[in-house]
């Protein structure tokens, strides 16, 4: 594995192996001094052409805990505003000596293109509506560890609720969850589904009430208010009445069922219930796991002889 551009680039075995390495990273993160020298001397550049403070901090924390140097580039304070092309930006940063680019971009496919212009590893930290592979890995990690099934989601049903069409999280999660054996049901109005679900291996439901009582995981997507225009949905109220997680709906969740959300939460839009009052909520656990998963990904791409350095680190 040289890059992580899409979950589709990962074999199911590679997914399972990253989840297993995440267990090691979680153990490191539980120590009093959560830091190992595994990537000492390496440079990770977080290159965010679109703002995302939480994802950027998660990656940078992961890199720091592996003792990598971190270089931060954000479009708002950079030459992008002076009209520099994507290619020139990447080639310039590459020339400074970068081992891995962590890229967030508003355009689907930007990481695929960036790969052509650098020898460094490229990690997709979210591109347009396309992919957010580390989010899917941390979600799969959270679900499998909560259900104590390390290598699969066999027999589990996940409802992904919200704007599937415009969601990189949904595209990544669906791929990883289905390949780990889960059944996925998409709960969304027609305008929030892509035109084709060929090959996705999912079913659909057009009301949250139809599925809330029978699924093992309720995965709520963030609804972006700017998508609530006339062409997409008649009104926010209509959306919330059918698809928001209300206290009443949350009360109908199975006793073992988990509630996940990629954040940031839009309270009063897709989440009318206070998530801290939902016993199955693992939303903050997702954030914690995100650091461990990103450490595992960085280490897989940059770690060289993996086990030796990790163990050295563990002794340090």
């Amino acid at each position: 594995m040289k890059h992580l551009l899409s979950t589709r680039d990962l074999s199911t075995e590679e997914i399972v192996s990253i989840l297993a390495m995440t267990d090691h990273m979680a153990e490191i993160n539980s120590r009093a001094v959560p830091k190992v020298p595994a990537l000492r001397g390496r440079t990770v550049a977080s290159v965010f052409f679109e703002d995302s403070t939480r994802t950027r901090l998660s990656f940078e924390t992961a890199a720091t805990r592996l003792s990598s140097e971190v270089m931060t580039f954000t479009a708002s304070s950079s030459s992008v505003n002076k009209g520099e092309s994507l290619r020139d930006t990447i080639e310039t940063l590459s020339a400074m000596g970068v081992d891995a680019f962590v890229v967030r971009h508003k355009s689907s496919g930007a990481p695929q293109q960036i790969r052509q212009w650098t020898d460094a590893a490229v990690i997709n930290a979210g591109d347009g509506w396309h992919q957010h592979p580390t989010q899917a890995l941390l979600d799969a990690y959270t679900i499998t560890r909560n259900f104590n099934e390390l290598n699969s989601m066999n027999g589990r049903t996940v409802a992904i609720v919200g704007d599937i069409k415009h969601s990189r999280v949904a595209r990544s999660d669906i791929d990883v969850f289905t390949r780990l054996g889960a059944k996925v049901v998409l709960v969304a109005p027609a305008a929030f589904l892509p035109s084709s679900l060929d090959g996705w291996g999912v079913s659909t439901a057009d009301s949250l009430d139809d599925v809330i009582g029978v699924v093992d995981v309720v995965y709520m997507l963030r609804i972006q208010r700017e998508r609530m225009d006339a062409a997409q949905m008649p009104s926010l109220r209509e959306y919330s009445s059918l698809f928001a997680l209300t206290p009443e709906r949350a009360a109908r969740m199975q006793i073992h069922a988990l509630l996940l959300h990629p954040g940031p939460i839009n309270r009063g839009v897709e989440m009318i219930v206070d998530p801290s009052l939902v016993p199955g909520s693992r939303i903050l656990q997702q954030v914690t796991n995100g650091i461990s998963v990103r450490m595992a990904v960085l280490f897989s791409l940059l770690g060289g002889d993996a086990t030796t350095t990790l163990q050295n680190g563990a002794e340090a």
């Binding site: 092309s85 355009s107 689907s108 496919g109 396309h130 992919q131 990189r168 892509p194 679900l197 090959g199």
Partner: protein
């Protein structure tokens, strides 16, 4: 040094005419076909054994980019690309800067084409001022300048009433209105065909219905006005069916298809390479099959390239921000011949005879190979296998989707106005 007074003999080719095909030598003197027969002699003898000789190709849909985007193409570089592809006439699309909505710009394009002198450059006119879809251009003034084909290509005329008025004027002046069919409200931000690939890739889709809805509307407007309308770059199965039905009804409609829409599918975009971004977008195998059927049964009248050069750096952007369009002139024959098996007369009909009629230039282009006819001639074969290299094209831009691909069939020599402009696949000027 080749001078205009010299005679040129095309030796050993098969003449492709609408009424017959036969092996003969063809002699050209002073811009005119002077003799067709056996064992002709002349100052310049072109070996053409195994080739077909037909009237030069006519492209109904060429973006020459001059004036305005000379970093991508000029009338000179585009003319050279045209003749290398066997085209002796190209209809220059009006989405220049300034747009071809006024007499001065139209005169500039025609005059610049004449000075370059490699092929006939026929400026099209906009339908509306600035291609904004609201106010009609001065059709009569532009028609006096010899403009016979009007289009807002790059966008469709959204307002049905404006389009109806344009057709009414065109009917009175015996002009052709040529429509880029795209309902703009359905394609906001669209990057590629709205289907399975697009859904997985997470980019805004360009649904087939956005084309078909405008085809459907315009057929109704043709029915109402009785004017001729030409439908540009059909890309969907549904559009082919609509045009087929309109023709069966006897309506005066014609249609073109591009080489890329009959050879490439949306699956090529899964790597997010903007080289495959084009408008209308590459579609599916089912659409390609329908377009092939439309070519074979005569629903589609012409192959047109939609040659759309873009400077290299503009394609080094993300898929959503890169401009749509691909080169087409130099690869057209090879792509068509590789994509679908067509008889030589069908190829000549689709690439020369029919488009000459649609462009209203059939008095001097798309003529039979016969004594006394003007010498606008392409000499080509359907057997030479060659590999496309973007670095070897005459166009100023390199945005061909066929780089590295093998094509079968190539233009060997091109003669424009009696001048040898391409010999053995090389441009002479």
């Amino acid at each position: 040094m080749i001078t205009s007074g010299m005679s040129i003999v095309i030796r050993g080719a098969t003449v492709v005419n609408p009424d017959a095909m036969f092996v003969a030598d063809v002699r050209i003197v002073k811009g005119v076909i002077e003799a067709v027969g056996d064992a002709l002699t002349g100052d310049i003898v072109l070996d053409a054994a195994g080739c077909y000789v037909s009237s030069g190709f006519v492209d109904l849909h060429t973006h020459l980019r001059e004036p305005g985007k000379e970093e991508a193409e000029t009338i000179e570089s585009g003319s050279r690309a045209a003749v290398l592809g066997g085209f002796t006439a190209v209809v220059a699309m009006p989405n220049t800067d300034p747009a071809q909505d006024n007499v001065a710009t139209v005169q500039f394009v025609r005059e610049r084409g004449r000075v370059v002198g490699l092929c006939e450059v026929i400026p099209s006119g906009c339908i509306t001022i600035g291609r904004l879809g609201t106010q009609l251009v001065p059709f009569e003034q532009l028609a006096e300048q010899g403009v016979t084909l009007f289009t807002d290509d790059g966008t469709g005329v959204q307002d049905a009433l404006v389009m109806q008025r344009a057709l009414m004027v065109a009917k009175r002046l015996n002009l052709t209105i040529s429509q880029h069919c795209e309902v703009a409200s359905m394609t906001v931000g669209a990057v590629m065909h709205d289907g399975a690939c697009c859904s997985t890739m997470g980019v805004p889709g360009w649904p087939s219905a956005a084309e078909e809805e405008m085809v459907r509307r315009d057929i109704q407007l043709v029915r109402m006005t009785g004017a001729r309308e030409h439908f540009m770059h059909l890309s969907t199965k549904g559009s082919v069916e609509l045009i087929r039905a309109a023709k069966a009804e006897g309506l005066p409609v014609t249609a073109e298809v591009t080489p890329h829409h009959i050879s490439l599918t949306d699956e090529l975009l899964t790597g997010f390479d903007p080289i495959f971004k084009v408008n209308p977008p590459l579609r599916t195998m089912a659409d390609i099959t329908a377009l092939h059927e439309g070519l074979v049964d005569g629903t589609i009248d012409a192959i047109a390239t939609d040659h759309a050069p873009h400077a290299g750096h503009t394609k080094e952007q993300t898929l959503d921000t890169a401009p749509p369009g691909m080169l087409g002139l130099e690869t057209a024959l090879g792509v068509v011949n590789t994509a679908i098996a067509l008889a030589p007369q069908k190829i000549a009909a689709l690439m020369s005879w029919n488009p000459a009629v649609i462009a209203n230039i059939s008095d001097h282009q798309g003529r039979p190979i016969a004594v006394g006819e003007p010498a606008h001639i392409a000499i080509w074969d359907t057997t030479t296998v060659w590999s496309v290299s973007r670095d070897e094209l005459a166009s100023r831009s390199t945005n061909t989707p066929y780089h590295g691909m093998e094509l079968r069939g190539r233009v060997r020599h091109t003669i424009y106005n009696g001048q040898l402009v391409v010999q053995e696949g090389k441009a002479l000027a």
